[in-house]
């Protein structure tokens, strides 16, 4: 009798351990899946001087100090219904762009350095809030959809060009003869991604129904050439050839001639 109760209690204990493990892993699965999904939203414009998105999500404690420091109500904290990690600061330039305050009040108030002063300090200057240069900010980069930009149609519009705080640096106008009429010019806005800060004033100013010029985070907007291509006309770039050890051909096959003989790989089912 006693042996039996002992046995039952051991069975119970083991069962409890597995029940706990089961509940825990179920919870962890759902919770973890949600975290991965929430982290995956990349189309977010963060405040100036924000760390890279992955590091920013680690670092932001969601206190809203930057939001309260922003004098134009540009910055907002994400609410649960928005597809942005809840509580993190962001802005939508179509509604309110970043006005690029000279003193950048949103950055030094950050308690965790998720907004890092260092990112706005020009090279060689001391790392103090006084030395911040707002033109160094890099929220994202403006992109033009030439098909919906009416300036590319030939209609005169330079709203984005006039709105740009770095006029002629971040957006310039390219004049081109309009062959259709034979007597007019296209005034095409051209973005220089190296100087564009991503403030979004162009997106805010754009006259089309849905902005034809808009700001995207740099990692979304930009491609990457990789290091296979050398700019032969640049001395420094050509020197890479001498030091680079990466292989140009991917070797996988035992015999290179089989590339032509191996039909089965070439034909799709």
């Amino acid at each position: 009798m006693q042996k039996q109760t002992k046995n039952t209690s051991r069975r119970e204990a083991i069962l409890k351990v597995f029940q706990g493990a089961g509940i825990l892993s179920l919870g962890g699965l759902v919770w973890g899946a949600y975290l991965n999904k929430a982290k995956a939203s990349k189309l977010v414009l963060r405040p100036p001087a924000a760390l890279k998105e992955d590091d920013f999500l680690k670092a932001c404690i969601k206190c809203g100090a930057c939001v309260q420091a922003c004098p134009y109500e540009t910055l907002r904290l994400a609410q649960p219904q928005e597809e942005i990690p809840v509580g993190t600061p962001f802005f939508n330039p179509r509604l309110v762009p970043c006005h690029m305050c000279v003193d950048v009040p949103c950055v030094p108030v950050c308690p965790t350095n998720a907004l890092d002063i260092q990112k706005l300090i020009p090279i060689g200057e001391l790392n103090t809030p006084k030395n911040m240069d707002v033109n160094q900010m890099d929220v994202g980069v403006a992109v033009i959809d030439e098909k919906s930009c009416i300036a590319y149609w030939g209609i005169q519009c330079d709203a984005c060009y006039r709105a740009c705080p770095l006029i002629n640096e971040a957006i310039s106008l390219e004049f081109e003869r309009n062959e259709r009429t034979g007597k007019h010019a296209f005034l095409k806005p051209i973005i220089n991604p190296d100087t564009c800060t991503g403030c979004g004033k162009c997106e805010h100013a754009c006259v089309t129904e849905k902005a034809a010029i808009f700001v995207l985070p740099r990692e979304v907007a930009e491609g990457k050439a990789g290091n296979f291509y050398i700019k032969g006309w640049e001395k420094n770039d050509e020197d890479r050839l001498k030091t680079d050890k990466s292989e140009s051909t991917i070797k996988g096959r035992t015999n290179d001639e089989d590339y032509l003989n191996d039909w089965e790989d070439l034909i799709d089912d």
């Binding site: 706990g20 825990l24 919870g27 962890g28 919770w31 973890g32 949600y34 975290l35 991965n36 929430a38 982290k39 992955d54 590091d55 999500l57 680690k58 670092a59 404690i61 969601k62 206190c63 809203g64 100090a65 939001v67 309260q68 907002r76 904290l77 609410q79 649960p80 219904q81 928005e82 990690p85 809840v86 509580g87 108030v109 950050c110 308690p111 965790t112 350095n113």
Partner: protein, 272 residues
């Protein structure tokens, strides 16, 4: 009237504390006051220093981020305040979710739902597992896991910066506490309470029980949101040493026999 105030003196003080803190935060947002700027995750105090949620800091460390010194010091101040002084008082004196769950409890008692409730399989120590799971997930996913889903943060942040659909999360907590489990969120699930229970083992302010005055009416146990901490009631004199006690003072208010009172640590030692 005065009797009602005296019978609810800690409840009134707690509501003043909870609402006052929120009031200062909201005022900072609306009128640019500088007493408490931010929210309960991090507050900038008088533009001089920061106070930070140590549980959030811990998650961020697990996520692999070296927190800035401002926030780190702020977190230490809060951690030491509760660990050495106030115990788990955050839950009953600061956290705004306490008002939500307390109203659910009040309605639960009014509708007498406790009388028809069956035993639930959920144990109070599940909150420690939620705490641990949150830290593990922070480690794996590289973000502060609980901060990404915390209804507590949604509530205080929502009140200060705009609620959005956050009210849905709050409603879920309210209904869970009202219909599913008594003291469900604060007493069983929330890892913030678990965190402060874990760190607050040696706090000063405790509730002291004098068994000679006790009439075994058990009103204190009925009123207590964490009744497991009141094991010594009617058995022996001493301080409530279980750090799951939130120092809400509800037991002291309902006691008609002067058998319970708040006490400082030095006094506990003297009386021993």
């Amino acid at each position: 009237m005065t009797n009602v105030i005296i019978k609810n003196r800690f409840l009134i003080l707690r509501r003043i504390s909870q609402l006052g803190i929120l009031f200062l935060f909201v005022g900072a947002n609306l009128f640019a006051w500088n007493v408490l700027v931010g929210d309960l995750s991090t507050a900038h105090v008088f533009d001089a220093f920061y106070l930070t949620d140590p549980h959030a800091i811990l998650q961020m460390l697990f996520a692999g981020f070296i927190v800035g010194t401002d926030a780190l010091i702020g977190g230490l101040i809060i951690l030491l305040f509760y660990a050495l002084f106030a115990g788990r008082a955050f839950c009953s004196w600061v956290c705004p979710m306490n008002m939500v769950t307390d109203s659910a409890l009040w309605l639960r008692k009014k509708w007498r739902l406790n009388e028809i409730q069956f035993n639930t399989p959920i144990k109070r120590n599940i909150r420690y597992w939620v705490l641990i799971l949150g830290l593990i997930l922070s480690l794996i996913s590289g973000v502060a896991a609980f901060e990404f889903v915390s209804p507590v943060s949604m509530l205080h942040r929502g009140i200060i910066f705009g609620m959005g659909f956050g009210w849905a999360a709050i409603a879920v907590i309210f209904l869970f506490d009202l219909l599913v489990l008594k003291n469900g969120w604060c007493g069983h699930v929330c890892p913030i309470g678990a965190f402060y229970s874990f760190t607050g083992k040696f706090h000063w302010i405790k509730v002291q029980h004098t068994v000679e005055n006790c009439t075994d009416c058990l009103d204190c146990i009925k009123a207590c949101p964490e009744p497991q901490v009141l094991r010594i009631i009617g058995k022996e004199s001493g301080a409530i040493s279980n750090s799951e006690c939130t120092n809400c003072g509800r037991c002291i208010e309902v006691c008609n026999d002067h058998a319970l009172k708040f006490i400082k640590k030095e006094k506990i030692q003297e009386e021993k």
